[in-house]
Symmetry: C2
Subunit: 457 residues, 2 copies
């Protein structure tokens, strides 16, 4: 037979079992957090009609699309989950309940030039809440709370949710008579963390912004302090512009409400330089920085927008949402050693017969465990006992349950801790109870570690 060399496309992530278990634990916590706030699941097709999907796209995005013809049909692979959401909401306005809260966790496709840390197929984990004509500001606070809950449940405490409001920026620049340059100025400011103050200054000069205005802008965007101090700075500017005033009000309201969601003040940072590149944000904007991986940039971003469905529908549909690029985040967390090691399976124990005579006792015991909601695997190949222990060891399960001639006779099990090597003989009831308790620990364990070295700083 002619053999083909097995390989995958470059820029595509494919994980080995223990990595995939870790990845899925993170993905599941994101999903569970989204669901805990009552977001509906959505699962749109990966393929869309190009004319529909690309109604808005252009420039860089359009070049990256995987687009092809099948028969007479011009088809594109989705490159994000926002355009499919807009399309879905427009199609089903009459059937949805508003505010419409949806989450979608799925793969998206961008044929970018391959480079380290960039993937051509990657998971986005999105939530959006869409209003019919209007949407209360409290949803902006809820969205921030979800960011907090999510990283907290993953096991992190060392992160900042950076918060700003585009109305504040709009009003501030209007007060400097820079209305006509807002988009360019915002784009420059947005790069502050990446390129530094001096480069921002240079770019603003190149844009023709007056020196006095540049000084005010730089003071504004480099302003630091806790939320109270930032608000007091904003009030102190005495700007009367309507957009500015309403933006500050919204920001205050969001901060006030986050308290009731149990978000600690130290995880929020009002950051006046944050604008988000996308043109369509109009109010609250979020970025999330992990203290242990500042170089990752924002790992969860989003904000409030006025009009989700403009390309498909006459109705005004404002919303607020966030997105996590999970594939890249996982790769960054892994590289930093922040992902806890996992077994190859989501199971607490491998049940092993000493010899083939105990095979059926092993199957019955495993069946008992599953009946109690305990995931387990059995090894029933007719091999030497050493090979069976080696299997349990390589699979990486925390415990082995061993049944030999004596155990089968006395309805007992030897439980071996695979890490410490300790073992004890328990009767069936005791062993199920023990493994049940250990299983519960796994189910509630947090999949990420904090960077201990930097905590000792």
């Amino acid at each position: 037979m002619t053999r083909t060399t097995p390989k995958i496309l470059s820029g595509f992530m494919e994980l080995l079992p223990w990595q995939q278990v870790a990845f899925n634990r993170i993905k599941d916590i994101i999903k569970d957090t989204y669901e805990s706030f009552g977001y509906s699941p959505l699962d749109t097709p990966v393929l869309e009609l190009s004319e529909v999907l690309l109604a808005k796209a252009g420039g860089e995005t359009e070049k990256q699309i995987y687009r092809f013809n099948k028969g007479d049909t011009d088809i594109s692979m989705r490159f994000d989950l926002t355009v499919p959401l807009a399309r879905f909401v427009s199609m089903h306005q009459g059937e949805l309940v508003f505010p419409f809260k949806r989450y979608q966790i799925g793969k998206v496709y961008r044929g970018e030039r391959a480079q380290k840390g960039r993937y051509r197929e990657f998971y986005q984990c999105d939530i959006d809440v869409i209003g019919n004509e209007t949407l209360d500001i409290s949803y902006d606070a809820e969205t921030l709370a979800i960011i907090y809950k999510l990283f907290n449940r993953l096991g992190l405490s060392r992160f900042k949710i950076k918060l700003n409001n585009r109305r504040i920026l709009k009003g501030f620049f209007a007060s400097l008579a820079l209305d006509d340059k807002i988009t360019e100025v915002l784009r420059i400011i947005d790069k502050l963390d990446k390129i530094g103050l001096d480069n921002v200054k240079a770019e603003l000069q190149k844009l023709g912004v007056a020196e006095e205005a540049i000084e005010k802008i730089l003071l504004f965007v480099s302003q630091k302090g806790n939320s109270e101090e930032q608000l007091s700075f904003l009030h102190g500017l005495g700007i009367k512009d309507e957009s500015f005033v309403s933006g500050v009000e919204e920001l205050e309201k969001v901060l006030e409400l986050t308290d009731f969601y149990g978000v600690p003040a130290e995880n929020i940072a009002v950051s006046l330089s944050i604008a988000r590149g996308l043109d369509y944000y109009t109010g609250t904007v979020y970025e999330t920085e992990l203290t242990d991986i500042p170089e990752a940039g924002s790992v969860c971003s989003g904000g409030r927008y006025e009009d989700l469905t403009g390309f498909y529908s006459d109705k005004k549909m404002p919303g607020v949402g966030i997105s996590i690029g999970l594939t890249r985040l996982f790769s960054q967390l892994s590289a930093k050693g922040l992902v806890k090691p996992c077994p190859c399976v989501n199971a607490v124990v491998a049940v092993l017969p000493v010899s083939d005579s105990e095979k059926t006792a092993v199957l019955s015991f495993a069946e008992k465990l599953r009946g109690k909601g305990i995931n387990c695997l059995t090894f029933t190949e007719d091999k030497k006992f050493k090979a069976k222990m080696n299997y349990a060891n390589r699979i990486g399960v925390p415990f082995a349950a061993i049944i030999g001639e004596n155990e089968a006779k006395t309805d007992s099990v030897v439980i071996k801790d695979m890490q410490s090597g300790e073992q004890k003989t328990l009767n069936l009831i005791e062993s199920v109870e023990f493994l049940s308790a250990e299983n519960a620990k796994i189910l509630t364990a947090k999949p990420l570690l904090e960077n201990i070295a930097s905590q000792e700083e």
Copy 2:
């Protein structure tokens, strides 16, 4: 602004929120069942190099592939999860632990001619266990047990797992001196349920099979009875062919072991006509028929094969596996009314303030619920109370928790049963306990119904 009419490609399934919640409950139970037996998750890319993915393909399959070029690269979308598994196992032989048990639940793509009940994008839910050179027969019993557990956990009891062994068929046809026509004969027999005895007979005659052999074949494939009776029929044939004898032995072994997995005898039917179309099955084969939807055919099929990785690797890798086409199955179950109605969200309660003054009390209460693992949503738009109740009603959650001026003062909550309309005032602790218990009911509920009408037959 020019508006584009929002629509999706034909042959693609996209569900509304309450349908998606139901779909996901089914998908989650399939996943949980696979994990409970210690299968590792696998998530291969949707896109593969055409030369790798299509190493084996040809004919009908190849015509259906979504295939395109991006730059110089010839790319195809996966059309099943078996070829990617073979490719993955071949690439990572040295890093995997054998027997390698993996599940994969993901979308696959086939650009078939559109027809009712056929989808061009659909979920496959697969498990396979792959041995290194050899694989014990006990895994064939485990696989059957997983089929049983899965449909049982979904809420069904009225189904038959049809079981056969290709070695038995091979040996039987060898005993009729039909060795050279086995593939054609099997293909004809496999259609028995679809086309009936007379048509099978006609096709066998056309193939040139002697009348006497046809009679024996028809007797063989139409044999009915419980497992014991079927085994006794097979023994009674007195066939000495080595393949036949070893096949019967395997079948007996599988049946014997399923007992220890707790599979009821009435859910298993030894069906000697089952061959499975695919050429690569060599031992045990399975099909699953839902009693309430016989016209759906087999909703979960698979079997034992000798050599998964032949196209990519020299090593012999036998395995046993099954696959469920979930998208089609869901559509069939829905059409028959066998899917329990679901709310738009995976949540038990909507928490509603009577007026804007109780908004923060609502947020705090919802936060308490989430702290106890209870999914909930809040409605915090400044609307009339009637609109809030209408929201809870349309979302479809079983309960509303209402906080008015009085409740906010006395730390209590009005819990309203949305179905019966009954309501009661509880203090915070009581209300959390009550909702926690109701939530637990939802988490353990089975998503499918049996067909009550046919149960009354």
